[in-house]
């Protein structure tokens, strides 16, 4: 839903400017490339940082406060392996799929605005999209998403285990987890942008 609305906003802002210059058709380039390369991965990353990272921290933190983590240790089981590994795997592997879904809904929002304001119908929008958005733009966006997922899971579980056995510590851990995740996602994105510039991707 959020991606769809962002697609509408980007589409509307671009359409108004492009219409002034009579460059209506370039809206597909603008929305298509920006969505695949940057917007969809970044928005998905930030949303997951807020939703998943906080969820992981809260869940593990609560287990720490309620001594479930201690109970696992007494049973000779590694809480780090049991509670981190499944989260790490799921976040790393599912972030690309969520990014792809986010990109498609964002494009749909952009296509809808293009149809209404610039008279580019939705079918033409997606037809042109398939012609101009090269694989490299798609790849540039998708390559970084597993790293986003991995980082979010690491931060979320790390702050979960850092939670102290005081209830107020849990809220503080969740806050630190969300802030660190969002800041980290933007930093990783910036690093990838520089790398892509070097390797001309």
């Amino acid at each position: 839903m959020l991606s769809f609305l962002i697609g509408i906003v980007i589409g509307y802002q671009s359409a108004v400017q492009l219409k002034t210059f009579g460059a209506n058709i370039y809206i597909v380039n603008l929305i298509g490339i920006s969505t695949f390369r940057e917007l969809a991965p970044l928005i998905t990353g930030i949303l997951l940082a807020g939703r998943v990272s906080s969820g992981y921290t809260a869940n593990i933190g609560l287990r720490k406060v309620s001594e479930e983590v201690d109970a696992l240790k007494v049973l000779g089981l590694s809480p780090v392996v049991l509670l981190t590994l499944p989260r790490l795997i799921s976040a790393t592997f599912f972030t690309p799929f969520l990014t792809l879904f986010s990109a498609l809904t964002m494009l749909l929002g952009g296509a809808l605005v293009s149809d209404i304001i610039l008279d580019i119908n939705i079918r033409d929008f997606f037809f042109r999209l398939s012609e101009i958005v090269a694989n490299k733009h798609f790849l540039a966006g998708m390559i970084k998403t597993p790293f986003f997922g991995f980082y979010i899971a690491i931060i979320g579980t790390f702050y979960g285990f850092m939670t102290e056995k005081r209830p107020e510590s849990l809220g503080y851990s969740v806050m630190k987890s969300v802030v660190s995740s969002i800041a980290g996602i933007i930093l990783i994105d910036a690093i990838f942008s520089i790398i892509f510039m070097w390797i001309k991707l």
């Binding site: 406060v65 309620s66 240790k73 007494v74």
Partner: protein, 250 residues
Amino acid sequence: MTPIIEFKNVVSKYGTKVIHKNLTFKIEPGEIVALVGGSGSGKTTVIKLILLLLKPASGKIYFKGKDTSHLTPQEEQEMRDRMGVVFQFSALFASMTVGENIMYPVIKRRKIYNELIKENAFLKLKLAGLDEEVFYMYPEELSGGMKKKAALARALALDPELLILDEPTSGLDPISAEEFDHTIKTLRDLMGITVLMVTHDLSSLRIADKLLVLSKGEIAFYGHPKELSKAKNEWIQQLISTSRGEFLNA
């Protein structure tokens, strides 16, 4: 008789902070020992030391006469398997039913048939004073007292020789607390199990055979609860003078 647990000149630290200066005490088989002390006196650290989750900075800890300082991780775990722990907040795994919680340690630590594991879980549930239908309930559906009893059933799952209770009656109403104390005493009388109970609830001291009082990282008193009034320690005198500790003076 060989003590279940013996501390000899144990010093423990968190980083540079000294928690215990010199602990020496024994817990004999079949005893109920209550561990009492002010906040920050190192009661929980004693539990961690016994469970071998924390190593002493110096001194020795013996479990049934065996020195625990040079054990391999596997030997340490085998030793831990002979102890059952009821945590302060019950620490039941929220995603599992009570039955699964009780079966979990057995599944992880023993190689026996599933049917036997289930039968054992029902037996432990009964020993802890809970009805069979609790087996299928989730921890969130239980009252505070029932959660403690379910945690007790899980602690009994591996037939421990030493039962460690961390503030077992905290957060319970007086009736549930009394019931829980009664269950512990019955378990000791029936199974001869040794119990170490960390508590702030002075009324629970009635079931204790011995009282171990920690103050400022040292043992301020270790003996029968009735002898406590003779102790000259300032914290103990304050404890006895409170209305809740009056019966200790009797």
